[in-house]
């Protein structure tokens, strides 16, 4: 039986600035922030769970880091204290709090300070180093919520094969990140949006404090000239019961969007590489991750066009075996290194798809839907395989 201790290193605001504290984690206690331990527990991985106070040299320690602040000396001191505990192996878990584009300085600091077997768990698809293990916390959520109704969805979708779908495409933009609004605007200015898409987007009033993270200052002039601004926010199924229940929320799949469209435009979090842009976090060229947006399309076996960093789909197919192409549904744009060229290729691709008749798209959609089983690939190669790799390291 493997002994494992899961705890969080959390930050709160105290009288004299930020204070750091640890908190033991248990399976299923608060499932939204204990996805790894809950996944391992619920899937029957054999573990004896220890408290932080009873860690010893036989215990693997998984430390979930809430906030990565390399300028906070107290944070770094707390990390050092953890490195000095008496444990078997240490796993710095960066997934639960959805850390993306994590600075390499953080990894380097940990490697320098920790003198025992050390691993990182993050959601970077690119294999950067041997001590980094892949896990995506969204796996837990989609596997918890989607499968209950996936069969019903698939059966009704097959039943409705004889009926045309209302829209050609689905484009749920979510936050107003520059590349998303740029593409939305392209479709809008070419009169391709309303006619063809079920679409949504927030505007600047949705989390306004993050505006420059979404739209770097260097892009702001171009952004302000986008005609689509006159049409956003467009949030037709937001805010019914609470403001978090909107299209892109990972705990909910609005099946109607998938019933009513033949393909999805997946605008992932990052697209353009960014460095030294004021008010905006740098992106890493050796980092690529995807979100619940992609997982939903994969699980629903919905054809899609990916708006993300270069080679995202190559990683999904090479690393996990996802089956997302067929003869007449290819992703040539995916490998184009230059971001602007890739965006142009995506725009051409969309124009091309939209020039197809609904009847042809209908046949193409069902050819894709009937021939794919990405849910099985998700469960076996993506979710379970990631967990097994981590478990085997304990």
């Amino acid at each position: 039986m493997k002994k494992v201790c899961f705890f969080k290193l959390r930050r709160k605001t105290g009288d004299s600035g930020f204070e750091w504290f640890w908190e033991d984690l248990k399976p299923n206690q608060t499932p939204h922030i204990s996805e790894l331990i809950t996944s391992l527990h619920n899937k029957g991985y054999s573990m004896e769970l220890s408290n932080y106070d009873s860690i010893n040299q036989d215990t693997s320690v998984v430390c979930v880091v809430e906030c990565i602040d390399m300028d906070d000396i107290v944070f770094l001191d707390n990390l050092k204290k953890i490195f000095k505990l008496n444990y078997k192996k240490l796993f710095i878990e960066l997934v639960t709090y959805d850390h993306q584009e994590v600075s390499v300085k953080f990894y380097d600091f940990c490697r320098a300070e920790c003198d025992r077997e050390l691993y990182f768990i993050d959601k970077n698809l690119i294999d950067v180093a041997d001590d980094i293990l892949y896990f995506d916390n969204h796996s837990f959520h989609v596997d918890m919520y989607v499968p209950h109704y996936l069969n019903e969805y698939k059966k009704i979708n097959k039943w409705c094969r004889k009926f045309g779908k209302a829209n050609k495409g689905l484009f749920l933009s979510g936050h107003i990140r520059f590349h998303k609004i740029q593409l939305l605007n392209f479709l809008y200015e070419n009169n391709l949006l309303d006619e063809n898409f079920l679409w949504s987007s927030t505007d600047e009033h949705w989390e306004p404090s993050l505006f420059n993270e979404f739209v770097p200052q260097s892009n702001e002039n171009e952004f302000r000239n986008f005609k689509i601004l006159e049409r956003i926010p467009n949030m037709h199924d937001y805010d019914l019961f609470d403001k978090f229940k909107y299209n892109n929320y990972s705990f909910q799949v609005n099946h109607m969007h998938y019933f009513n469209s033949y393909f999805e435009v997946i605008p992932e979090t990052q697209f353009y590489h960014r460095e030294y842009l004021p008010g905006t976090k740098d992106t890493r060229k050796d980092w690529n991750n995807f979100s619940e947006k992609t997982l939903k399309a994969l699980l629903m076996d919905h054809p899609f066009v990916m708006v993300s960093k270069v080679n995202t789909l190559k990683y999904l197919t090479d690393k996990f075996g996802f089956d997302i192409s067929m003869d007449n549904w290819m992703h040539e744009y995916d490998t184009i290194e230059n971001d602007s060229d890739r965006m142009n290729a995506i725009q051409s691709k969309l124009k091309n798809i939209l020039s197809m008749s609904k009847s042809d798209l209908h046949d193409l959609y069902y050819e894709y839907f009937d021939s794919k089983d990405n849910y099985s690939i998700f469960v076996n190669n993506f979710y379970n395989a990631s967990l097994t790799k981590i478990y085997n390291k304990f």
Binding site: W159, L198, M256
Partner: protein, 391 residues
């Protein structure tokens, strides 16, 4: 075990003459909903061939025509009445006859000297020898909304509760009958159609030979002025695999429509009474419903009925259907005057479109109205029992 023979009378037409022939009907054949229903329901029935009829056998004769002016047809019926059998059931439902001329009933009663019953789809109790039967009941359960699809729908519908639906109403017009286009045009001219409804309609090129039946001569001038004509045909989910596969078509329900809307406007075949003694004529003592209504009942969808007066009252009184709750009443249903009823329906729909609690109202109706159970027990099974007990 009851002995029953099911036959149909069909017209055989050659260059030289027309003949009416008898054809045995077996369960699970096409257009054999009644024997199939009995068979699926495990009723103790022995199916007898027409040539083996005897005085212990009930004979069910489905008519493909109700033409009382065709002497050959009437002769064929007379032959039926002279057969040696226990009792006779003239089935006028299987071939979807509606607004049947009363002469056919009178002819049969006069010519038949045995125990005689009629099976038809008239909801109004006109005579004791007429038994209600609707062949669409079988289709509703087996192909329009099969149980497996219904169960999937219910689960998904529950799951979709947190999401606002894309449209308020569902308005599948089907054939261009005057009352349907009149209502569609009303909402179009008021700018309420596209914003609020998933809607569809054919136009004159869809079964053009029936145009005069859809639009009576005296309504044509008004019809030609409808602005909605510029927008039809509007068949967003028609014609994908074959021309007959359209949203309002009876073989299947487009479940996505029901997951995307909060209520349905059910446009039944007849609305305005017409006493013209021609093929447009309707009977004031006839009222029937179709697969359009069955879909809404099976799927627990709130609806507004555009049909003859008292359609919903008949469904409630005769079968116990429960279509009303606070916030969802059908006051218009009992209005006898067709024009006044149409105005009341227009007002009702406009009022519903202004509800700000349609989402909650929909789920309250969907959760508390169990009309599908009534459909199975009181409507389908009970109807079959009544017929079976007469055999």
């Amino acid at each position: 075990m009851k002995r029953v023979c099911f036959i149909r009378i069909i017209k055989k037409q050659s260059i030289t003459h027309i003949d009416w022939q008898f054809q045995n009907v077996k369960p699970f054949e096409l257009i054999a909903e009644l024997p199939t229903s009995f068979c699926e329901g495990n009723y103790p029935i022995e199916i007898i061939d027409y040539n083996d009829l005897d005085s212990n056998t009930s004979l069910v004769v489905s008519l493909t025509s109700t033409d009382v002016n065709d002497a050959f047809h009437l002769d064929a019926l007379k032959k039926v009445f002279n057969t040696n059998c226990k009792n006779i059931f003239i089935d006028l439902s299987t071939h979807d006859h509606q607004e049947i001329p009363i002469q056919i009933y009178e002819f049969c009663r006069m010519e038949c000297n045995k125990e005689l019953y009629f099976l038809d789809k008239n909801l109004i109790d006109v005579a004791d020898d007429i038994i209600y039967y609707e062949q669409h009941m079988w289709h509703a359960i087996n192909s329009v909304v099969p149980n497996r699809v219904l169960n999937n729908f219910k689960q998904l519908n529950d799951w979709e509760k947190p999401h606002i639906r894309s449209k308020k109403g569902l308005f599948l017009s089907g054939h261009i009958r005057f009352h349907k286009l009149e209502l569609l045009n009303h909402f179009y001219e008021k700018g309420l159609l596209d914003e609020n409804f998933i809607w569809s309609s054919t136009d004159e090129t869809w079964e053009p030979e029936s145009f005069r039946q859809f639009i009576p001569f005296d309504k044509e001038a008004e019809y030609r002025k409808f602005k909605i004509l510029e927008r039809i045909p509007h068949m967003p989910d028609f014609d994908f695999n074959q021309i007959k596969k359209q949203g309002g078509y009876s073989p299947n329900a487009n479940i996505v429509h029901y997951l995307s809307t909060y209520f349905e406007i059910i446009l039944e075949t007849q609305f305005y009474h017409k006493d013209t003694n021609d093929y447009c004529s309707t009977r004031s003592d006839w009222n029937n419903i179709s697969e359009k209504t069955f879909k809404a009942i099976r799927l627990g969808n709130p609806f507004i009925m555009v049909s003859k007066p008292n359609t919903l009252k008949l469904l409630k009184d005769k079968f116990g259907f429960d279509f009303e709750m606070k916030g969802w009443m059908h006051e218009y249903d009992s209005i006898q005057n067709d024009t006044t009823r149409m105005e009341s329906i227009k007002n009702k729909i406009e009022s519903v479109l202004q509800y700000d609690n349609l989402h909650d109202l929909y789920y309250e109706y969907f959760t508390h109205k169990f009309n599908n159970d009534i459909f199975i027990e009181n409507f389908y099974n009970q109807t079959l029992n009544i017929i079976f007990n007469k055999f």
